[in-house]
Symmetry: C2
Subunit: 200 residues, 2 copies
DNA sequence: GTAAAAACCAAGCAAGCGCTCGTGTTAATT
DNA sequence: AATTAACACGAGCGCTTGCTTGGTTTTTAC
């Protein structure tokens, strides 16, 4: 049900759909608009997706898989220092938020439009991602790097990071890496704070 | 254009609309659904609002006015200690997020569905609110209470707070006041952290 | 008590919606 | 060369949408 038909063509269609869903919102994006942007007629759309909801589900799944893959690989490369791991995870989060921006924005804003079935399926991916974060946050707490309630820290940090899609300008003066570093510096003791703020 | 016709009847209609917009989303909420929930027929709706968009605008404005009023009164009562002011503002933010939850959720998720005119109008309210925050954040930075880039601090903190609408359960063990205190404790030095976490 | 104003209703229009279906048209497999 | 599967098309069905209209009831103001 998940990765059936991951052809390049289908991936491209999902990318296009993600863009339109962001620009117009899911409900205002008609199957005719989707089809036109894909260079086909509306009827042909339903050879690739069973219905409109399935496109939404595919878009969101793309973003979540990307986030998971990136986070896992970042952690694998990060060694075992809690502060490095936390920094790496925040960087990975901002990176996927940026490179798969459309998919993540759709996940954020159109989650409620998913039917129950799709939601159940995607919720497992979200849980896996959040427990990845929880583990790293727990390590940082145990190391005395930050302080606070473990659940609360995770939620506040992920909230602050996710909110960046509403204001972050990739063309601005700040790289995603610097952004991640500054957020963690805010939470940590002065030991973590470096003067390094601008782009290299 | 703003506060014309702030009759109790109209206020009630706006409350009902806010609830439906949260439950179903703006686009999926039909004028017939709105009318039924209000106890009238769909045609009569357009004696109160010029069109569907105007209802959305009214809902969002309600929430923003509430937030502004609450924040201003909280600051007026807070004296001039930066830490008290920051705490008061965070508490006020969570309080309006809770008591006008529907309106704020709509503002969060359906902002993009506003037409250009409404958006221009509401953007001024948002700017006023954010500059209120910016001032208090600046005071806290100057007092050495927290550290980081002034714009970034404001955005991260407001992001973390706004994100609470996605997970906070008012029936849970944590009061909004405790939540605000814990967030600020995360950002501040140990001087600010108190052991006080649970409900009184 | 009456006139003006505000609120409401029943009916329906034009447009747009998601989706289906029967029929080509390729492109790969045998 | 024949078969099959994948992809695309055009037409359109059945339904819902936001909103209008002309006329009636209720409330308000003097």
């Amino acid at each position: 049900m998940t990765l059936v038909n991951a052809s390049p063509r289908r991936k491209e269609l999902i990318r296009i759909a993600a863009r339109l869903f962001v620009e117009e919102g899911f409900d205002r994006t008609t199957v005719r608009m989707l089809a036109q942007a894909m260079g086909i007629k509306s009827g042909s759309l339903f050879h690739h997706f069973s219905d409109k909801q399935a496109i939404l589900c595919a878009v969101i799944e793309t973003g979540m898989q990307h986030a998971l893959t990136l986070a896992r690989s970042a952690l694998a490369d990060a060694g075992c220092s809690p502060s490095v791991r936390l920094d790496a995870l925040a960087r990975a989060h901002l990176e996927t938020l940026l490179t798969e921006r459309n998919a993540h924005v759709v996940a954020l804003y159109e989650w409620r439009r998913l039917d129950a079935g799709s939601r159940d399926h995607l919720i497992h991916l979200r849980d896996a991602y959040e427990s990845l974060w929880q583990k790293v946050v727990d390590e940082a707490l145990e190391a005395g790097l930050i302080r606070g309630d473990r659940l609360l820290v995770r939620r506040f940090v992920l909230g602050a990071l996710n909110w960046t899609v509403r204001w972050y300008d990739p063309a601005g003066p700040r790289s995603p890496e610097a952004l991640a570093r500054e957020l963690i510096a805010m939470l940590s003791g002065p030991a973590f704070a470096t003067g390094h703020v601008g782009r290299p």
